[in-house]
């Protein structure tokens, strides 16, 4: 943990809300290795994420597969099809990215909720988002909005952590 702390302290930007998180071991461990989804570790740096976002998955689909689409649709058809699918996917991407990093907005400063943030349980995120404004107690076992603000809450159970195992 000390190692990760040392490696990551230089990364806080001024705009970043991270300044409001407590700089205890928990917060440090989130920013360093460890604490990924499940037993995985956080080791992907900024530039990795950028490149994964920009070109990961581009393969024969773009370089070769376009050919058969072109033969079927012609120049205008191809351009239009790509523009339409691109527009749909753009919306999808903005939404998933929003969900993947959702807890930030709603997590109280002192809870350990950030341990669970940015995993890939998008459905739970969506339910959280939908339920938050109403403030109703949850019929699901999601970390409900009303349960979050307790500063003594140490580990909030979420569906993704139902199996008891050491957090981190």
């Amino acid at each position: 943990m000390a190692k990760s702390n040392k490696a990551e302290t230089g990364r806080q930007s001024k705009k970043d809300d991270y300044a409001s998180y407590p700089s205890d071991d928990t917060a440090a461990s989130i920013r360093g290795i460890g604490g990924g989804h499940g037993p995985t570790q956080r080791r992907l740096q900024n530039y990795h994420i950028s490149m994964i976002g920009f070109c990961s998955g581009i393969g024969t689909g773009l370089f070769v597969g376009t050919g058969s689409a072109y033969a079927k649709a012609g120049p205008a058809g191809l351009l239009l099809a790509y523009a339409v699918v691109g527009a749909v996917l753009w919306c999808v991407m903005q939404s998933i990215a929003e969900l993947a990093t959702l807890v930030r907005r709603y997590a109280p400063v002192k809870s350990k909720v950030p341990l669970q943030f940015a995993n890939i349980d998008l459905c739970c995120r969506y339910l959280q988002l939908v339920r938050f404004p109403t403030g109703q107690p949850d019929s699901l076992t999601l970390p409900s909005a009303s349960a979050l603000p307790s500063p003594t809450a140490t580990a909030i159970p979420s569906p993704s952590h139902r199996r008891s195992r050491p957090q981190l």
Binding site: H48, F63, G77, W90, V92, C123, S160
Partner: protein
């Protein structure tokens, strides 16, 4: 590879698969580095293709024929799909291109799965999501526009079904213009990016398996990690879909992936469907594997629909 030699594609596939397994068993940082390097190759290759395409259109190629928007006039901007004439045929052609377009866009969402292992996801993921805008504009829409300029849609090689680089519209255009060395270079780039896409899908598949274990949909055994945080059981499980590449002989991949994609899209739209019916869809995909198939898409399509929609169900108990 078949572009250069008569060597059996099995050799290429074996080397590629071994490399993929090796990189995915190292800690996730090395997957990131592999993506950075292969991503740089993809960007450079595509930039090169854009420049070449503009030069070809303007008549700078060895045959000095300025094409301009010739193919938008000569066969016209639309094609008669299946010989159906009139606007019905045009519309059907446009509609069928959707399928390939959706296929080409696979992989855009990888970055969200990387959120789970990012050092600073709250800063990096939104940034990366914004970059997706440029990605779509640069690679896909600009690419589609340029292909429309440089290749005749009636060209037979486009639908030759050879499945290798010879049916790539870029290579066809370069060959037509009479440039000698470039097709080889493009082939190398395409090979690299195909490998890198396989690498990504293997990684995504393994992380989906891990997510399923944390939701209690798979035995905890699959979430076993090394001390570097590599879920090695999940990686090997996802990788085992890889040898299906041998079915494909020459990287032929399109029909299966289309099926995968249909199922994937359909299932994401129906989160309430039972596990049983999802499995049936999965089995159906397997029976279609004779058309296979860039195989990771299969693994990916089998795993992704099984994991995402069930979240809403599993959280109900």
């Amino acid at each position: 590879m078949a572009y250069w030699t008569d060597i059996t594609p099995a050799v290429t596939i074996t080397i590629g698969l071994a490399l993929i397994l090796f990189i995915n068993l190292l800690n996730v940082r090395w997957y990131g580095e592999a993506e950075v390097i292969s991503g740089a190759i993809k960007i450079l290759c595509f930039l090169g293709l854009v420049i070449v395409a503009i030069v070809i259109t303007a008549g700078g190629g060895p045959n000095h024929e300025a094409i301009g928007f010739k193919y938008w006039n000569e066969p016209g901007p639309w094609t008669q799909f299946n010989g159906i004439s009139g606007s019905t045929g045009h519309f059907l052609g446009f509609l069928s291109a959707f399928v390939n377009a959706a296929f080409s866009f696979i992989g855009v969402e990888t970055v969200v799965i990387a959120a789970a292992e990012s050092v600073d996801p709250h800063r990096d993921i939104p940034k990366a999501a914004k970059r997706v805008t440029y990605r779509i504009g640069f690679f896909y829409i600009l690419g589609a526009l340029l292909i429309g300029l440089i290749v005749d849609p009636r060209n037979e090689n486009l639908v030759s079904g050879s499945g290798n680089v010879n049916s790539s519209p870029w290579v066809i255009a370069i060959k037509q213009a009479g440039i000698k060395v470039l097709p080889s270079i493009v082939n190398a780039c395409i090979l690299t990016s195909a490998w890198s896409a396989g690498n990504s899908y293997c990684w995504v598949g393994s992380r989906m398996i891990v997510a399923m274990t944390t939701d209690g949909q798979l035995p905890q055994f699959f979430a076993k990690t090394t001390k570097n945080g590599v879920p090695w059981v999940a990686v090997i499980t996802a990788w085992l879909f890889g040898p299906m590449a041998y079915l494909s002989e020459s990287f032929r991949f399109i029909p299966l992936v289309l099926l995968c994609h249909y199922t994937l899209l359909e299932q994401e739209a129906n989160p309430g469907r039972s596990w049983y019916r999802r499995s049936l869809a999965g089995l159906y995909l397997v029976t279609q594997s004779k058309h296979c198939g860039w195989p990771y898409s299969l693994g990916y399509a089998l795993l992704l629909p099984h994991s995402l929609p069930t979240r809403s169900q599993s959280s109900r108990d």
